[in-house]
């Protein structure tokens, strides 16, 4: 039943499904509801690393080297552990500089060099062509096999005409499919959300398909892992396969393949595309760090059992081990499983081809064709207003050309190697990007010339030791090239360069090419100091993870015209998209209209970064330079700006410290201010109260004086009464003023104190005598209860008397007339003497007990009860007592009378605390 219509139909349905997913993904992206903004999808899209190499080739590799297929997956696992900073730095740098490909990355780092971008593109295209050939070969041979069912070997005539070759048509179909996927429209950031969604789906499909075959072979054809291995171990030849180092396999090969794969996961154009360019959020990296290696582990679990199973079942039948994944189910008449396997393989191939060729076509267009066009046909290009269509045509053309190159390589050298052998040639090519990339991200001293020299040297050695021998093996170049060396010179044998033996081809190439690459990169870089452009770009890349770094606009000086810039961007992105982009910029900068934009360094930088997304940083630089009058910065100036930036960093740290201090100081100031405000308010209250207290006696003095003046006929008796009121009010005024002055003196510390040994008992007696008239007037009884034999203490006699008199006059004031009773006690309590003055008046509410010691505050409701006294007596008394380190307080229950008590210590160090 596996005739070609069914196989082709199933493939077509599958590809249509992929396309539908991609279309849906793009549509969602346009609506702003991204389907790929998900860490799992991100990790699955990275699994585009697993191509038909993994799907078919690993088993073929395992059939020859046992566990030797594993380093290709262990290397990436280890590198993902470094992804936390390495990939993060790449992602952040690429986003900040609108970098859309690995060629752009290297070109941009070394001063936006078009030459370097072009070279990287050429190396990438030549290096990846064998890899694409690998996919074509795998799909073509699996197709030939499955339509030849039930035969297990495809009958393929060598040298059949191109138009009759399945592989050719597969290449064209893949090209058309890729064009549909990746170049339907131009995106300023080169992001293809739909493609990523489709690739993630493909990763699931190929894992499921491979897992299905693995389970079928391990548990269907055999009885689990133990059974497969037990039978294999029984065979002496197969038993050897389970060792890492055996025969011509060494730990050195194992290591170099791990290392190579580790570099490939970073620098393969398609990995750069999905990992860096298509990254939606840095946070997604977190899950990818472990989920992607887990995917690799799962897809490799059944490789060895399948390989051993195939070797045992097909022993002596000459079935290609690269096809075991397909031929095992076929030999067991599992037609549906075989079809699923074929679709899984197609999935692995299409995923790789789509992403890889899109990434390469971007590079070819931005870093190779555009710079050439802009240089040679610059006048013609000026005439064409909208170039976005041209950009798309270039990319489509590049996709077709790359796939045809893949086909060409397949025709020339495809038969000589197993799948993995071809893939490793490509891996070794992209490893040449490592010195320029990693050096560029961590070393400021790398220069454009160094990177050029390193890449050229490494690429030349790679081509000599791996690419050319692959042609030679397939008979396209003389075999003597490999066996005898170039021109028969022994030392130039491509697999034993300079007589180095004992390494396999890949390790051998890796050692020599990277030695030449790193050596040339460092040596040439060190021959001169970086130029201004290189130094400024170096800072952008090396300091990408630092929080403050100079933005590109700080390193530009010159003049430009905003309208020209917008028109320029419009030519490459399309006028409508350019308008939208600049309108967004205007909104961010609070400019009402795009026409009013000022062509400052920021705008020029913005325009350049927009262009960089579409045509690469080097071309963008050249195009912006063509419309703006730039004043080139000298190296000294660039270094100054960069120095300033690093000074700024230390300044900003200093500033942070200062601002923290400032915050603290502000807090203190605020508190002090609050206190001042409170004091100010108190002062205002005080002034208001004083004015009020002064006005009351003044008013009555004035009133009675006016009566006396205006009415000369007032009776003599009345006159005398009025005059005595005037006199008493005047006395009250005098008393008030004296008390205010007193208070002010005490508070300011200017009061004069006459300190001597005093007898508190006699002070109380004298005070009682002085106030006896008040008690008589109001008919209030005064009882003295003075303990005898008390020691003298140091104090100011007059002041203390003032206190007692004040307490007594207060007491008599509040004691009820007639039944009033005031009780005065003097007694010793421990090391102090106490005087208490108790009355049987209304008492003082608890909430007023402290208030009454404030100036001008009196007990009771100030609004309803008429205040008696000046309101300064108690505050002054308290001040006096406190001056001698004593205390004055009140004890009272409403309705039970009040007791004012003051205590004075016997060991008196008066004044010292209050001075």
């Amino acid at each position: 039943m596996l005739q070609s219509p069914i196989v082709i139909g199933a493939s077509a349905i599958y590809l249509a499904l992929l396309f539908a997913v991609a279309y849906w993904g793009d549509k969602r992206a346009d609506e702003g509801r991204s389907v790929i903004a998900n860490p799992t999808i991100y990790a699955l899209s990275m699994a585009v690393y697993c191509t038909t190499w993994t799907y078919y080739g690993s088993v073929g590799r395992a059939a020859v080297t046992g566990v030797g297929f594993l380093p290709i997956y262990l290397g990436p696992t280890l590198v993902m552990a470094l992804g936390g900073f390495l990939l993060l730095k790449m992602i952040r740098t690429a986003k900040a500089n609108r970098i859309t490909s690995i060629a752009d990355f290297i070109a941009s780092r070394y001063g936006k060099s078009q030459l370097l971008g072009g070279l990287v593109t050429i190396i990438a295209v030549i290096g990846i062509v064998p890899y694409i050939a690998l996919q074509l070969k795998a799909v073509a041979s699996s197709y030939d096999l499955i339509v030849g069912y039930p035969a297990l070997k495809a009958v393929v005539e060598s040298n059949e005409p191109v138009l009759a070759d399945t592989t050719f048509w597969i290449a064209l179909i893949l090209a058309a499919f890729t064009i549909l996927f990746g170049t339907r429209h131009l995106d300023a950031t080169e992001r293809h959300e739909g493609m990523v969604a489709a690739v993630a789906l493909e990763s699931v499909v190929k894992l499921l398909a491979f897992g299905a075959v693995g389970l079928f072979v391990t548990y269907g054809l055999y009885d689990g892992f133990g059974d497969v291995f037990a039978r294999a171990l029984a065979d002496e030849k197969l038993a050897k396969l389970t060792a890492v180092a055996s025969g011509n396999r060494s730990y050195a090969t194992w290591f170099s393949l791990t290392f190579l794969a580790g570099l490939a996961i970073l620098f393969l154009p398609r990995q750069f595309q999905v990992t860096v360019v298509e990254n939606v959020s840095e946070a997604h990296l977190k899950r990818a760090i472990w989920l992607f290696p887990l995917y690799l582990l799962l897809i490799n679990l059944f490789v060895l059992p399948i390989a051993l199973g195939g070797l045992m079942r097909f022993a002596g039948q000459g079935v290609d081990a690269d096809t075991f994944v397909l031929t095992l189910p076929m030999s067991a008449q599992q037609e549906w499983l075989a079809l699923l396997v074929f679709v899984g393989g197609l999935s692995a191939a299409t995923g790789m081809v789509i992403v890889e060729t899109i990434a390469l076509s971007t590079m070819v267009c931005n870093d190779l064709v555009m710079p050439l066009l802009l240089r040679t046909r610059s006048l013609a290009l000026q005439a064409e207003s909208d170039l976005s269509g041209l950009l798309l045509r270039i990319r489509r053309g590049a996709i077709v050309v790359i796939l045809l190159l893949g086909y060409l390589y397949f025709r020339l050298a495809g038969d000589a190697y197993a799948l993995v052998g071809i893939g490793l040639i490509s891996f070794s090519a992209v490893a040449q990007f490592a010195p320029a990339m990693i050096g560029g991200m961590y070393w400021r001293g790398g220069t454009r010339d160094g990177a050029l020299a390193g890449l050229l040297a490494g690429f030349a050695v790679w081509a000599y030791t791996l690419l050319l021998p692959s042609f030679s093996k397939s008979g396209w170049m003389p075999a003597s090239f490999v066996s005898d060396g170039l021109f028969g010179i022994e030392l130039l044998k491509p697999h034993q360069l300079f007589g180095l033996t004992g390494l396999d081809d890949i390790s051998h190439c890796l050692f020599w090419s990277l030695a030449a690459n790193v050596g040339a990169y460092i040596a040439v870089s060190l021959m001169r100091a970086p130029t201004a452009a290189e130094a400024s770009q170096a800072t952008q890349f090396v300091d990408a993870l630092k929080t403050t770094r100079p933005v590109g606009s700080a390193l530009w000086r010159g003049s430009a015209d905003a309208a020209e810039l917008i028109a320029l961007v419009g030519r490459f992105l399309g006028p409508a998209r350019a308008q939208t982009a600049f309108a967004a910029y205007a909104r961010r900068h609070d400019v009402a209209d795009v026409a009013n934009l000022e062509a400052d360094a920021d705008l020029v930088h913005y325009a350049e970064s927009l262009l960089a997304g579409a045509i690469g940083s080097a071309s963008a630089r050249a195009m912006v330079a063509s419309v703006a009058k730039e004043e080139p910065l000298s190296l000294g100036e660039v270094m100054n700006i960069l120095d300033e930036a690093s000074q700024l960093r230390s300044y900003s740290r200093e500033l942070e410290r200062k601002s923290r201090q400032l915050e603290d100081a502000t807090g203190e100031l605020k508190a002090a201010n609050e206190r001042l405000r409170e004091l100010d308010r108190l002062k205002d209250d005080f002034m208001a109260s004083v004015s009020h207290e002064l006005r009351t006696p003044l008013t009555s003095i004035r009133a009675f004086s006016e009566i006396l003046r205006d009415d000369p006929k007032t009776a003599l008796q009345d006159r005398e009464r009025f005059l005595s009121i005037i006199v008493s009010e005047t006395e009250r005024l005098t008393r008030l003023v004296n008390q205010i002055l007193d208070m002010a003196k005490i508070e300011s510390g200017n009061a004069e104190w006459l300190v001597e040994e005093v007898d508190l008992g006699s002070i109380v007696e004298q005070s009682a005598a002085a106030t006896s008239q008040l008690f008589r007037d109001k008919n209030v009884a005064l009882e003295l209860d003075l303990a005898g034999g008390l020691p003298l203490l140091r104090g100011d006699r007059d002041r203390l008397m003032q206190v007692v008199i004040n307490l007594l006059s207060n007491a008599v004031k509040f004691a009820p007339a007639g039944a009033g009773k005031v009780h005065v006690r003097l007694f010793r309590k421990q090391e102090e003497l106490r005087v208490s003055v108790s009355d049987n008046g209304p008492g003082i509410r608890r909430e007023d007990q402290e208030v009454i010691f404030d100036r001008f505050r009196q007990g009771g409701d100030a609004m309803t009860s008429k205040p008696t006294g000046t309101g300064l007596g108690l505050p002054i008394s308290r001040k006096i007592v406190e001056y001698f380190n004593g205390r004055l307080w009140v004890e009272s229950e409403p309705g039970q009378g009040a007791s004012f008590i003051f205590s004075l210590p016997l060991q008196n160090n008066e004044g010292e605390d209050n001075a």
């Binding site: 291995f229 389970t242 060792a243 899950r287 760090i289």
Partner: protein, 76 residues
């Protein structure tokens, strides 16, 4: 920031551990004609070490808050 730095350092430690586990000479210790439950020892070892490295990476990136940063700020 400090927490990020700690996570990165832990990942580098996992990298170094994995590098040692996956290569000569540790690899050679298990690279001999022995079986575990009928499966060749080196096969079991490689996949077990691999799974271990992945588990360590997952633990480091998914649970960074467990061992630092808690007491410094509430915003975990």
């Amino acid at each position: 920031m400090q927490r990020t730095m700690l996570t990165v350092q832990r990942l580098v430690a996992v990298f170094l551990a994995g590098f040692v586990l996956f290569n000569y000479p540790v690899l050679a210790l298990f690279d001999r004609a022995a079986t575990l439950l009928g499966v060749p020892l080196v096969f079991v070892y490689l996949f077990a070490a691999w799974a271990l490295v992945i588990a360590a990476m997952a633990w480091v990136v998914e649970h960074p808050e467990r061992h630092d940063g808690r007491e410094r700020s509430g915003g975990g």
